[in-house]
Symmetry: C2
Subunit: 148 residues, 2 copies
Amino acid sequence: MDGTTLTDDVGFLLSRASGLLVRATNAALAAHGLRVRSYSALLLACGSEAGMSQRDLAVILGLDPSQVVLLVDELTEAGLVERRPSESDRRTKLVAATQAGRAACRAAERAAGAVHAEHLAVLTGEEQAQLRALLGRLVVGEPAPART
Amino acid sequence: MDGTTLTDDVGFLLSRASGLLVRATNAALAAHGLRVRSYSALLLACGSEAGMSQRDLAVILGLDPSQVVLLVDELTEAGLVERRPSESDRRTKLVAATQAGRAACRAAERAAGAVHAEHLAVLTGEEQAQLRALLGRLVVGEPAPART
DNA sequence: CGTTATCGTAGAGAACGTCAACGATGGAGG
DNA sequence: CCTCCATCGTTGACGTTCTCTACGATAACG
């Protein structure tokens, strides 16, 4: 009567599933010079025309702001994004995707999507939607990530 | 029409949810001198009377064998497990929980379970079961974790 | 008996998480 | 206007985790 068979633990399964997917996606993105981390940031930068502040990036990605600095440094050096000054607040810098960045993002999107689809193939489309919905509620139901 | 809104991406949600739960669980287990990592290993060691080989530990936890060494070192130094020679194979060492280890495991189980329940409270019991089932299929549907 | 594979171990290097501090700017109040 | 406090980006540090390589000891196979 141990309700805690590790392999039935939601937390463990979450870590395990996440780890497997991240690993596979990293391998696929390596061909594009990206990792899951940088890809996510790039994707967000591509999301808005004007760019997104590093603080917003940190909040959405659930990272410490100091990590975002390095991430943006890396993407900037690769010529995929650029830091633009905000017009309304001279402290904030908007991270905006360059032309090359948008192109790389599209390519990476295909690569990541393929791995993604492959790993989720064991689930039906409906099940994938279910999973997405459940995880979504799990994530938003939580307090701030780091540095409230 | 971008099908890739990061916050709707299953992989991203997986990482995010996993990260949040691990962080919270680590905080809760800190009072018992454990982390999620060591707790998982301890739980497995407590699972079988004779103990479990480090190799099996690595496979189940999805870790590199070299990490298991450090993990078991740590647990051994804390007096929670001990390495026993296997009778059938002198190469393998069986990791078995001590009395103290089993006690610590039970206490940690309660602490982890509480955090667990709290973070999953946004889902109904049925939804939690659904999630567990979906994740389970996702995990087993994958190839070997590290070093096949 | 020799070759090949496996188990545990050790070590290194990169990526990641977490925290503390600082300069520059913005905002609120006297 | 000036002062106090909050925020944004940045830097630095320290510990954890991932990944890979190599090695000694033992096992399994030919």
